[in-house]
Symmetry: C2
Subunit: 140 residues, 2 copies
């Protein structure tokens, strides 16, 4: 299992917008050129980012803009915008309640699973878009 590339594409997208929104009109075609995927994929992801309040899109005339400042956007915001699954681990549905383990497996594992998912999300929440932007500028 891997997370879809939507996450890295969305992050790339937001970095491009942050970098170029004052200089160019950042369209799905522009972004598709930098990311090297089909423009429709970009439009779909931009739609998800827009629905989550991370970008604003000018319909008709075209162009995407950050809806928040780059230091208010974290990797967790981006991740949640494009990965709609709220629960990371798929639990098998029907453990047998007549088995002592089957009966208790949920109450034993659920809290552990939550802890694991939270550890990942907390780490994501620590990293902001402006941090990535600074590093990108440094590497240029």
């Amino acid at each position: 299992m891997q997370f879809s590339s939507r996450f890295t594409i969305a992050t790339h997208t937001l970095l491009c917008i942050a970098m170029f929104q004052e200089e160019y009109k950042v369209t799905s075609n522009f972004l598709a050129g930098s990311i090297n995927v089909n423009p429709v994929i970009i439009r779909n992801i931009l739609g998800q980012l827009s629905a989550s309040g991370l970008v604003e899109i000018k319909a008709g005339v075209g162009g995407a803009y950050l809806a928040k400042s780059a230091d208010e956007i974290t990797l967790l915001d981006i991740f949640k915008a494009v990965e709609k699954e709220e629960v990371l681990f798929h639990f098998h549905e029907n453990p047998n309640p007549e088995c002592p383990i089957g009966r208790t497996i949920h109450s034993v594992m659920d809290s552990k699973i939550d802890t694991i998912q939270l550890a990942m999300e907390n780490e994501m929440a620590e990293i902001t878009l402006s941090e990535l932007l600074d590093e990108a500028k440094k590497n240029m």
Copy 2:
């Protein structure tokens, strides 16, 4: 995106083995009864757990046994046994090197992604099978 239920099934499997291996012959049919899935699925997962050195399986006669003590088996061991993907995040393949962002996106994001994945794995490494077993016994 969700992790496959192989992880929770494998954990359930190991808990059953730890709990019952001295009292019963724990076969794929026995386990399938507690977990409520097809025995072939159990056999496949047992095969992965065996390949990772977590269980021993008696061919012919049947029965699965822990290959390590329960406090030496962590959720990370189980996770790695059944989820073969080494890298959690799928990066888009060909960012455009002629774009300043496309050129630097990998060097900027790779270390962040590693950190995130490590946060999750470290949390998994903290939880042992014997810990889960104790809690299950308490809840019985």
